[in-house]
């Protein structure tokens, strides 16, 4: 991670002279040696070298004392545009009020710098490089001041936007020093501050975009307005894998305001774009179109039938994920055994801002405005489609009205580019809610079969977790890779079964890949939701069967609290134990729930206000990096006609919590997200079409379903971990376990409905 002279730019072309510090870090692929070392860094999960994947952070200090920082991640609610300035302010010694945050765009200036937002990495991935950038700037400002005063750099410090000579109290503002600082040599290894010298990091800081959001001036993708811009909606082939055969533009052209009707070959599916002077004309024009579609090879695809296929696949050979001991043999020999099958259905992302993209294709160049998590891919897609160099494509990232993984795909970008090119004008392509619901990269449906062999005390000694279902369709193994039975294990997958943190003498996990025509992609928490739902539900079943307290059982299975090195992931069991113990205390677990109960399989449920109440626990380790335990409390109508999640208490240790207020917000958010597949979110496919149209039939949590959420943070470690997804996977099992505690009803197939409770 060497800082070269090249990274130090003077932007004399700008009106105000100033100091610009940028960091060129190891970019995968820059050289083969570098690429190899970055790859290794990922595998060893070393936070220090993992930063080599991280982006540059750009700082610009003007003579007007304004410190500009270019955010190298997309803001989609995770608060990155707030947390990066906090880090900058602390490490640089800047005046918080003088920091302006800008959004980095894909343009030559940021070439080779990661702008992609994924894997909960907004804070974790930018932390170290940003601090180094800030420390470099600080040291250069200090050298400049020390030089002017003829004193040693050691006798000066930077604080509140000025350099101060401690002894004499003399001071110069960053603005006054900017020009001189820009002539100072770049320090080879700037010294990072000690944690104890931070003022903002670790405190509760509110969102910097708050005011713009509440006054309606925040700019999302759909709010972009480019002069001369036309609006388009696209009729896409409604059949998975089907194609456009023909269309007659005439009926759409009859709608006043419609300017063009053009075919679209790129993007999610082939189709027809209706381009008009405003959205409404485009929407009406599309409604008038009657394109002819070829239903393609999957015309009869049905998700219920597919579930049965996944069930059959469980008995077919698959990929080996864990092979500790000989679980199948011990299972056969065990006197006491348990087995259960869990189902997680297809999910849509359904961010509140539907997909959209604005593109302006000119001769030899293109400019794009898009709410995306993947500006790099957007640039590549556009360049490829137009046959122009990537540098000729500028991608501006707007605020995102939710991302959740859907906006890691860029299908909406080539669509807009293709249409703009066809009509020779800037075009905004807007997806209707119905489009967004149907044409997604869905969270894959999964089945999980768990088997355990138990000892005399009811503790599992053999554990076998078998998963079946589609993988993420754009990331799946190639035909060649499929021949390697360790393909997934080598990469630490499947998350949730591979990195199962518990100690079993015999521990196997398998995965049978079942292909479906449904496009699938990362959805908040990616692979964890289904595996953890099954794993943590099954543990609860084992606990109740053996009359063991569910927290106590987990604590026992995490002994001796050691580090578990799974090669691709490292699990710190002591940290998981700590969050479990803390959640027991914070949730008042022991106060209503004894370890055994005379009610048989239901542990200490109670009645209050004419309803049945119960608590359930679940815990998980996210990517070896973030540790969480959660207790959900539910109330259920006595006749099982409904249930309500009343309260969710979580304890989270994701390393250094840079902004606890933001971490709490993400936990609240992740809980609502994790509730979606529980309370009714499910995408059903019939005849190769998703059947859901809007929030009327894809049920998402609303205010009346929102539980009281309590989040407790364990401030751990020195570096921040990712936390945007951490709380998602435990929600479903904690609720299912709570419902069981309240009613004795075990629902293993999501969503949990009144009917399923009654039939359980």
């Amino acid at each position: 991670m060497k800082v070269t002279r090249r990274t130090f730019l003077r932007e004399s072309s700008r009106a105000a002279a100033g100091l610009v510090v940028g960091f060129q870090l190891g970019i995968p692929g820059a050289t083969s040696a570098l690429a190899k070392s970055t790859r290794r860094a990922a595998i060893s999960a070393d936070p220090e070298s993992a930063a080599e994947f991280a982006p540059n952070a750009f700082i610009r200090i003007g003579t007007d004392n304004v410190v500009r920082l270019w955010a190298t991640r997309s803001e989609m609610g995770e608060g990155v545009r707030t947390v990066l300035p906090m880090v900058l302010a602390d490490e640089l010694g800047a005046d918080w009020e003088k920091i302006v945050i800008e959004q980095a765009a894909m343009e030559p200036r940021f070439k080779g710098i990661r702008l992609r937002t994924s894997g909960s990495g907004s804070a974790a991935g930018t932390w170290r490089p940003l601090r180094k950038a800030a420390a470099t700037a600080r040291e250069m400002l200090i050298s400049a001041a020390a030089g002017k005063w003829g004193v040693s750099a050691e006798s000066c410090r930077a604080e509140q936007g000025s350099v101060v000579h401690t002894e004499s109290g003399r001071h110069l503002t960053f603005g006054e020093l900017a020009d001189a600082a820009s002539r100072m040599p770049v320090p080879a290894s700037p010294k990072l501050k000690d944690k104890k010298d931070f003022h903002l990091i670790g405190t509760r800081v509110k969102r910097r975009d708050g005011q713009a959001i509440v006054s309606g001036s925040a700019v999302y993708g759909q709010d972009i307005h480019v002069p001369g811009m036309l609006h388009a909606v696209v009729a896409r082939c409604p059949y998975l894998g089907g194609k456009l055969v023909s269309f007659d533009p005439a009926p759409a052209m009859k709608v006043e305001g419609v300017k063009y009707v053009v075919p679209v070959r790129s993007g999610f599916a082939t189709g027809v774009a209706v381009v008009a002077v405003n959205n409404w004309a485009a929407i009406k024009g599309r409604a008038a179109l009657l394109p002819v579609w070829n239903k393609g090879p999957n015309a009869s695809f049905d998700s219920d039938t597919f579930t049965r296929e996944m069930e059959n696949a469980l008995d077919q050979p698959g990929f080996a994920l864990r092979r500790d001991g000989d679980a199948p043999a011990v299972l056969v020999a065990s006197k006491k055994k348990m087995e259960a099958l869990y189902e997680y259905p297809f999910q849509a992302h359904a961010p509140l801002e539907t997909m959209n993209c604005t593109a302006h294709v000119r001769e030899g160049s293109c400019e794009i405005w898009v709410p995306t998590q993947a500006p790099e891919a957007a640039q590549q897609d556009a360049a490829k489609l137009l046959g122009i160099p990537e540098d000729a494509v500028k991608v501006n990232v707007t605020l995102l009205g939710g991302g959740f993984g859907r906006r890691l795909q860029t299908d909406y970008v080539p669509e807009a580019v293709e249409i703009s090119k066809a009509v020779g004008a800037p075009v905004q392509v807007m997806w209707t809610r119905d489009d967004d619901m149907k044409y997604g990269f869905f969270h894959p449906a999964k089945l999980e079969r768990l088997r355990a062999g138990l000892d005399e005390q009811g503790l599992p000694v053999a554990w076998h977790h078998q998963s079946s279902g589609p993988h993420l369709s754009l990331l799946g193994p190639t035909a060649e890779e499929k021949k390697n039975p360790n393909y997934f294990a080598d990469d630490g997958m499947l998350w949730g079964s591979f990195d199962n943190p518990y100690n079993f003498a015999h521990h196997w996990a398998d995965y049978t890949l079942v292909e479906s025509p449904v496009p699938t992609g990362p959805w908040r928490a990616v692979m964890y939701p289904s595996t953890v739902f099954a794993r943590e539900s099954f543990l609860d079943e084992i606990a109740h069967a053996g009359k063991l307290d569910p927290i106590e059982l987990r604590l026992r299975l995490l002994q001796p609290g050691d580090m578990r090195d799974l090669k691709a992931t490292m699990i710190n069991r002591a940290r998981l134990i700590a969050v479990l113990k803390t959640v027991a205390e914070k949730s008042g677990w022991a106060t209503t729930q004894g370890s055994t109960s005379d009610l048989g399989s239901t542990t200490a449920p109670h009645e209050k206000s004419g309803r049945l109440w119960g608590r359930g626990v679940a815990c998980n380790v996210y990517d070896g990096d973030c540790y969480l335990a959660m207790v959900a409390e539910v109330s259920v109508a006595k006749n099982l006609s409904d249930y309500k999640v009343e309260r969710v208490a979580s304890v989270i240790d994701c390393g250094l919590a840079l902004n606890p207020l933001g971490l709490e917000a993400q936990t609240e958010s992740a809980i609502a997200w994790g509730m979606t597949p529980v309370i009714g979110g499910k995408i059903n496919f019939k005849n190769a079409q998703a059947q859901e149209h809007s929030f009327a039939d894809f049920k998402v949590p609303r205010m009346s379903e929102a539980p009281r959420v309590e989040t407790h943070i364990i401030q751990g470690a020195d570096a921040p971990g990712g936390f945007g997804e951490t709380a998602v996977p435990t929600v479903a099992p904690a609720i299912a376990n709570a419902i069981f505690a309240a009613t004795g009803k075990r629902v293993r197939r999501l969503p949990i409905t009144a009917e399923k409770m009654r039939l359980a």
Binding site: R208, S215, G216, Q222, N278, G402, A665
Partner: protein, 181 residues
């Protein structure tokens, strides 16, 4: 070229009379966004189930995606851009809900929040001290995919307190966003 089917409609938006030429069945939502460039009112579903497009008519919350411009003609609406009172060229008095939203750090992606705030402001104009049950029943017609519900509830209670303490409106902008809480 056949005769235009577009007509001119006048409606009052944020205290100003606006004339727009549009198809009679155009939802008010698209008039606001595409014709008047008032993009604080969001498109979330277009079918009345998410609340992102909520505006005020006579202080009541209405869904602009469910009102056609022909029926909106002659009526008066307030959008999120018009919720704060202008005190002079430079300053706004944020509505107590807007201020409470900042104070409670409600927004995540923020996309649903203009609609939420308009709904909450209308609720408070009818119930000066709404209970959790009042809040739940009104706000449950809205979707926040980021799950900010708990903070919205707190913000509504806070705004109610602010309003009863100071019956007019909220505080001056420039009120620190990004400040420590």
């Amino acid at each position: 070229m056949p005769e235009s089917s577009l007509r001119v409609f006048s409606l009052n938006v944020n205290g100003e009379l606006r004339k727009v030429k549009a198809a009679a069945d155009t939802p008010l939502l698209w008039i606001l966004r595409d014709e008047l460039q008032l993009t604080g009112t969001k498109y979330g579903c277009g079918v009345g189930v998410c609340g992102a497009c909520t505006v005020h008519e006579n202080g009541s919350a209405v869904r602009s995606c469910q009102i056609t411009v022909s029926s909106a003609a002659g009526r008066a609406f307030t959008t999120i851009e018009g919720l704060a009172a202008k005190t002079d060229q430079l300053h706004l008095h944020l509505h107590s809900c807007q201020q409470a939203w900042i104070d409670e750090d409600v927004a995540q992606c923020g996309f649903c929040q203009p609609g939420m705030i308009m709904e909450a402001a209308a609720l408070l104009s009818k119930h000066s001290r709404p209970t959790d049950a009042d809040i739940d029943s009104t706000m449950s017609h809205h979707v926040c995919r980021c799950g900010t519900y708990q903070r919205i509830r707190q913000a509504i209670h806070r705004a109610a307190e602010m309003q009863s303490a100071k019956p007019s409106t909220g505080t001056k902008t420039g009120a620190k966003t990004g400040g420590k809480s």
